[in-house]
């Protein structure tokens, strides 16, 4: 089915608008251009609201805005009822006309005081065949008509935001694809209606058998408990996988956000470490400088007094050479003997001859004993001073080197601090810290769920083993009990049927997966502008999608946003084909994430897609760049511009 037109009355920005999607060229392509805030996304919402009664693509904030057009609300009188209506007109392949109409009546209160109150709502579907016979469907019947157009559960593959294309394979790939294939295959019918009914019947039959024999009842009860537990484990595994996928996505998101941004928390820890190290080094430097100052003080005076030190050493050495040092006679003793005229050692008085000889001897002695003694005392310390001066250079070099080492370290720390400041300046530290915290939270969740998954998986295997054993045991017990022969046959039949259903489910899923894989590959390579770069597209058994580079490696993670979006678009188109629902594709902001160089390629791709499928694209003026405009203006069947009124309460749709 194609959408023929949409009529909007009092719906959000659209007080009274009609958008016709009649095919006028070879391309069933329709372009709507509107600035942000003009209601572009609300066209997508209007279709959802009309068909399904909700607006899942709107943000929470937007959903809280009144559904009733503001101008209409203003114009209405106090207490007046106003009707919101959206009609989607469609035409099926067998030329039936279908009109989906959703109306809601709101009662207006005094402006500015209260929001309008919803009074009533109705939805009807009018189907007119090619002979002019019209049927009107309401309530459940009308909903089943919608299901024939685009079933609610798969609408997300038909009407969506362009960003979804970019994110599709970035987010929990395997899960998304499995979900899509599951929905498209409509296996839920088999699962919900056949499998669960058979399971219930099987349980009932076993219970019946259990009533006949306590042993059977005991085994049955155990089996049921185990099966219940298995189901619980399966649910837990599903939840774990969901949490793991979510955590992976979030980690990727935060990695993207944090790319090139320093880890502020780690940087701050490092900054504190450096500050502490710097402080410690500064203290060591101060100590070393003090040590150097003390050395300079201590050695300085000796250096300055080096010449008298050397002179004194020289004098002492000369006196030693001359034999004046150490003194052989005590000059003062001799002086006293001359004075006393007697020997002060033996007491013998001096005669004239002895006196003269002592006086001559005294003349020969140049150093007084006191001076000689002092010179002798001085000799050792003087040599020590001399050694000190000789060592001065070495000691100063050593300590200067140490000081320089500390100063260099300090300069390095300072440089690192400056670098950190430069790295972190201009960033919102708190926000970045929050991002890191959030990232850490998801990292923890990822690890915990992975561990949990491992644990559950082990238990699940045990339970499965138990179930198999209990089934065997129950089978043996049923065989032994003659009273339940008929029941056993029924149980056997149900078990076999259930196995067939399960197998069928797997086969359908597998076949659908294969079909979608083949079609995705065909569409992707048909539309791709770089034909030689890739060689294959694969949807693996775990439902992860892989793009294979011509050189043989998997490259989905490293391709451009344009290539990734094309793959997602190809996958979506493949889903359309395989689903059997020939419905339009409506994409809001289709090239928002595409770089300028690939936008034209996408313009061509959308044109090509529209030659087989109704394609409605909602662009912002910035997206609808010159290149795209040149390409699509001539091809599009219809082009519309959304213009907001000066009071910003109404959007008009202008045909371009």
């Amino acid at each position: 089915m194609k959408i023929d037109k949409i009529i909007l009355k009092n719906y959000r920005q659209f007080k009274d608008a009609e958008i016709s999607f009649k095919e006028k060229s070879n391309f069933d392509l329709h372009v709507i251009i509107g600035k942000n805030g003009t209601g572009k996304t609300n066209i997508l919402s209007a279709i959802n609201w009309c068909l399904y009664g909700d607006e899942p693509n709107l943000s929470k904030d937007s959903r809280q805005l009144p559904l009733l057009n503001l101008k209409s609300m203003e114009e209405g009188d106090y207490g007046e009822d106003k009707e919101i209506m959206v009609e989607v007109w469609g035409k099926t392949l067998n030329n039936k006309f279908v009109i989906f109409t959703r109306k809601t009546i709101y009662n207006i209160y005094e402006s500015g005081k209260n929001l309008p109150t919803r009074i009533s709502s109705e939805f009807e579907v009018k189907v007119t065949d090619n002979k002019g016979n019209t049927e009107i469907f309401k309530d459940e019947e009308s909903e089943s008509q919608v299901e024939r157009f685009v079933p609610k559960r798969i609408r997300e593959f038909f009407f969506f935001d362009g960003e979804r294309l970019d994110n599709y394979f970035k987010e929990a790939t395997g899960q998304n694809i499995r979900h899509a294939i599951f929905e498209i295959s409509q296996i839920d019918l088999l699962e919900n209606r056949v499998e669960s009914r058979l399971s219930d019947t099987l349980k009932d039959l076993r219970r019946e058998a259990g009533k006949e024999n306590p042993e059977i009842e005991d085994t049955r009860s155990q089996l049921e408990t185990n099966e219940k537990q298995l189901k619980e484990f399966d649910e837990q595994i599903k939840e774990c996988n969901k949490q793991i996928a979510l955590a992976k996505d979030k980690i990727k998101d935060y990695d993207e956000k944090l790319r090139g941004i320093p880890d502020i928390e780690a940087v701050e820890v490092r900054r504190d470490e450096i500050k502490t190290l710097k402080q410690q080094k500064k203290e060591l430097l101060d100590e070393k400088l003090k040590e150097k100052e003390n050395l300079l003080f201590e050695y300085g005076k000796v250096v300055m007094l080096y010449s008298p030190i050397k002179q004194s050493i020289k004098i002492i050495e000369e006196k030693r050479k001359k034999g004046e040092l150490p003194p052989t006679q005590d000059k003062s003793l001799l002086e006293n003997m001359v004075k006393e005229k007697s020997c002060l050692i033996c007491g013998r008085p001096f005669d004239a001859d002895v006196k003269k000889r002592v006086e001559d001897l005294l003349k020969e002695i140049k150093l007084s004993s006191e001076v000689a003694k002092q010179l002798e005392y001085m000799e050792g310390p003087l040599h020590n001073f001399e050694d000190k001066v000789m060592n001065f250079n070495n000691i100063m070099q050593k300590i200067t080197k140490e000081v320089k080492g500390y100063e260099d370290d300090l300069a390095d720390y300072e440089q690192e601090l400056i670098k950190i400041d430069a790295e972190t300046s201009g960033y919102n530290s708190e926000k970045i810290k929050d991002w890191h915290k959030e990232r850490k939270k998801f990292e923890d969740s990822f690890t915990q769920n992975l561990q949990k998954l491992g644990g559950i998986d082990g238990k699940r295997k045990d339970i499965l083993k138990n179930i198999e054993n209990l089934k065997g045991q129950l089978d043996d017990e049923l065989k032994k009990e003659k009273k339940v022969k008929k029941l056993k046959n029924q149980i056997d039949f149900c078990t076999k049927a259930l196995n067939v259903v399960k197998k069928t489910k797997e086969i359908i899923m597998s076949e659908t997966r294969k079909k979608i894989e083949d079609r995705t590959k065909d569409i992707f390579f048909g539309l791709l502008w770089k034909k030689a770069t890739f060689k294959d597209v694969k949807i693996e058994e775990d439902y992860s999608i892989n793009l294979i580079h011509s050189l043989g490696y998997e490259c989905l993670g490293s391709v451009s946003a344009g290539e990734r979006e094309l793959l997602a678009l190809s996958f979506t188109l493949a889903l359309h084909e395989v689903s059997g629902f020939d419905s339009p594709i409506l994409i809001d902001t289709p090239v928002a994430r595409i770089s300028d160089e690939h936008r034209v390629n996408f313009g061509k791709i959308f044109s090509e897609v529209s030659s087989n499928k109704q394609t409605i694209l909602l662009f912002t003026p910035a997206e609808y760049s010159k290149d795209i405009k040149e390409l699509l203006d001539v091809r599009a069947s219809n082009r519309f511009a959304l213009k907001l009124s000066s009071d910003e309460k109404e959007t008009r749709v202008e045909v371009l």
């Binding site: 100052e293 300079l296 250096v303 310390p381």
Partner: protein
Amino acid sequence: MSNIPDRINVEKGERDNLYDKIELFKGKSRKEQFLFAMAIGFKNKVKRRLETTDGFFLIKDMRLEDEVLINAIAINDFNSVEVLSNKEDVFKIAEEYAHAGIKLLYDKMKSTQFGSFEKQFEKDIIDAYKELNLGEYGEKNTSS
């Protein structure tokens, strides 16, 4: 024989106005301060008579090596070892050099910019060492 003095003197007021104003002397004993001032005076070949005296520290607090430095200056100044027999003269010479040296040091400190005195002090000592013309490892450089 002369009387042996029991203390080393400085000019009155010098203790408060000069010695205690020199940052470099903080934490140093009076004896150390005095010997350093004496070395400065000697290095600059300038000594000044003390007009007044104020006891700075007791002789008994000096160690042998401190006295050796004072003696060496006296020997050099008198060009005779006999000066050592007159301790009054020996200490007087030391006091006169210290009296001149402390003034020189103080003036230098005042004339240098804040924070650069330590650098200047280091440079002066290194220059004094270089003037001794000792080799890299302290051996006399005979080539110059």
